[in-house]
């Protein structure tokens, strides 16, 4: 059985006290693509992705990732690679320690791949991760997520805190990884320009609702002479007005 949907959310909601971080979200993310999840701050992107990888439990609805409940089992955990927003690593552990951590905790760990990426990036294995630059740390976190050989890579605003050069390098790395390993990927960002370069499918999420979804080429065609960014912003603002009126 081939899975054509990597992420399938139905009426998904997450509430903190009385505040809904995500409510009634229904969406499908197709397999075999690099999917960009765009939306304004507070649209629920981070909550959605954290629900999808099982770091959060939903208050309402269900989400299935690769056909199973998120983080349901070690096998399911191994099939999903995740890089969180701040690309956290253990500051006291060295780069080599992090690779060892990956090898110890993941049966499908690809040690050769991890070593190659580290030397390609020019990282010193003995360097403590606390001493790395933001871009290097993001690359280390990505290496950990990739070398466990996942079927799906989930990246939550991985470049938000990086400078333009590191941003470009990171996005380039993701494009390469997806091409080489044949994994699906979901990336979130609030900047269309970050995603445009590497994604081939785009979903616009505003206030927990999908406002626009489709292959990037189709969206470009629909945008006509305007840029993709203009199209996305149009949908965001239209909806903003809508929700304001609704409230």
């Amino acid at each position: 059985m081939t899975i054509d949907t990597v992420l399938d959310a139905e009426n998904l909601g997450k509430r903190y006290g009385r505040r809904w971080a995500l409510s009634d979200c229904t969406l499908r993310i197709p397999a075999g693509r690099i999917v960009g999840l765009v939306g304004p701050n507070g649209a629920g992107k981070t909550t959605l992705l954290r629900l999808a990888v099982g770091l959060l439990a939903p208050s309402t609805g269900v989400v299935r990732v690769l056909g199973d409940r998120p983080a349901a089992s070690p096998v399911q955990l191994g099939r999903v690679g995740f890089v969180a927003q701040e690309t956290p690593t253990y500051p006291n552990l060295s780069v080599a320690d992090h690779l060892r951590l990956g090898a110890w905790l993941n049966p499908r760990w690809d040690s050769g791949l991890a070593q190659r990426r580290i030397s390609l990036l020019g990282l010193d294995p003995r360097q403590r991760s606390g001493r790395l630059s933001g871009g290097q740390r993001a690359q280390l976190a990505l290496t950990l997520a990739v070398a466990k050989r996942p079927d799906l890579l989930v990246l939550d605003e991985p470049v938000a805190s990086l400078d333009p050069l590191a941003r470009r390098e990171f996005m380039h790395a993701i494009g390469e990884i997806v091409a080489q390993q044949g994994v699906s990927a979901v990336l979130s960002s609030h900047l269309v320009s970050d995603l445009e370069r590497v994604c081939d499918f785009m979903i616009v999420l505003v206030a927990s609702r999908v406002r626009l979804a489709g292959p990037v080429d189709d969206l470009r065609n629909a945008a006509g002479g305007r840029s993709l960014e203009d199209l996305v912003v149009d949908h965001m603002t239209a909806d903003h007005a809508g929700t304001e009126a609704h409230r």
């Binding site: 990888v53 959060l56 070690p74 955990l77 995740f82 690593t89 253990y90 990956g102 110890w104 993941n106």
Partner: protein, 358 residues
């Protein structure tokens, strides 16, 4: 998972091992001398025929050092709870690294179980070794002072229970508070509170104490009572004396005296009202105790006080409530069991919490 736990824990483990080693070396260097000195003291006092005074003096010689080491053993569990327990989850939450480690192919229940097992074992080992060293080193002093219950929490097996409990308390606090420093403070506060409550509230009630009756001795009965923090806490939890008449405590080696009350045949406490009615003016003039060795009072006042005690002694006697030395190990095991049980409960709470998040 065990390898990762060890990699992340090896620095704190080394610090603790070094501390235990320092204490062990100190104990090994000074312990034999202490034992020899005690043996010599005993030999000398047996020849002279006055061992109680000699051993009491001996117990005082190294009491400052013994108290300092005892304090170390008392506070080691609190430190373990604050520095090993509290950061375990709180630091992962603070730094966001939980989203790194919980996304590896290991369920987070297993992650927590391995962490709790390894660090819990280390906590028990650390506290157990500290206690073992101190118990061995202080044996001559403990024999001399004949007050095993006074050092109950610093000797033998109970420190192991304290350390396990403090560690899990720290983990739980970190899980709830999610900030390392705040969790450390909560851990220390709750741990000290629980220790005080179990020491003065629970420990005396585990096994029913024994009672013994003594006639009031005019020569050794004074007025007013000594006030120390521990006596204050004890009277708080277990009731305070109702009159100012304070008979000296008869010598019961290694017994734990709960209370010394002055009661009549029906078990009613002597009240200040009765005391003042029986011998007017004595208690107010008394103020100072008349026990030998305390502040001297005038002969006439002392005589009046003795006459008063004799008069009171016709209807009242001293009732001693105490735990005999033979129950020491029962109480050690009971307290260890209580703390280990509480530890298991906290571990279950942590596991439930970490699964519920999935």
């Amino acid at each position: 998972m065990i390898r990762l736990t060890w990699r992340q824990f090896r620095t704190p483990a080394a610090v603790a091992a070094a501390a235990v080693l320092v204490l062990a070396v100190f104990a090994a260097l000074t312990g034999p001398d202490l034992a020899h000195a005690y043996a010599a003291t005993l030999a000398a006092c047996r020849r002279a025929g006055d061992c109680p005074t000699a051993t009491a003096a001996f117990a005082r010689t190294d009491s400052a050092l013994s108290n300092a080491l005892g304090t170390l053993v008392t506070f080691a569990p609190a430190l373990i709870g604050a520095f090993w327990g509290a950061p375990l989850i709180a630091r992962e939450m603070e730094a966001g690294t939980f989203s790194l480690v919980w996304m590896q192919s290991v369920s987070r229940a297993r992650w927590l179980l391995v962490k709790l097992s390894v660090l819990g074992l280390a906590s028990a080992l650390c506290a157990g070794l500290l206690s073992l060293i101190l118990t061995w080193w202080a044996r001559p002093l403990d024999d001399a002072s004949a007050a095993i219950y006074a050092t109950f929490g610093q000797r033998d097996i109970v420190p192991i229970g304290y350390a396990l409990f403090a560690f899990l308390l720290g983990v739980t606090a970190g899980m709830v508070v999610r900030h390392t420093v705040a969790a450390m403070a909560v851990t220390l506060f709750v741990f000290v509170t629980v220790r005080v409550c179990t020491t003065y509230g629970l420990r005396p009630r585990i096994v029913a104490p024994e009672h013994r009756v003594f006639a009031l001795d005019p020569a050794s009965t004074g007025f007013g009572s000594e006030v120390s923090p521990s006596i204050l806490l004890n009277s708080w939890f277990n009731g305070r004396p109702t009159s100012q008449l304070d008979p000296a405590t008869p010598s019961l080696p290694n017994a734990w005296i709960y209370s010394s009350r002055v009661v009549d045949a029906n078990g009613h406490d002597l009240t200040d009202a009765v005391l003042n009615a029986t011998c007017p003016g004595v208690a107010s003039r008394g103020g100072q105790p008349t026990v030998p060795g305390h502040v001297p009072v005038s002969d006439s006042a002392a005589q009046a006080a003795r006459a008063c005690v004799t008069k009171i002694g016709a209807t009242y006697h001293q009732l001693l409530t105490y735990q005999p030395a033979s129950r020491y190990w029962t109480l050690q095991w009971a307290e260890l069991g209580t703390y280990v049980g509480a530890t298991a409960l906290l571990a279950a709470v942590c596991l439930w919490w970490i699964r519920r998040r999935a």
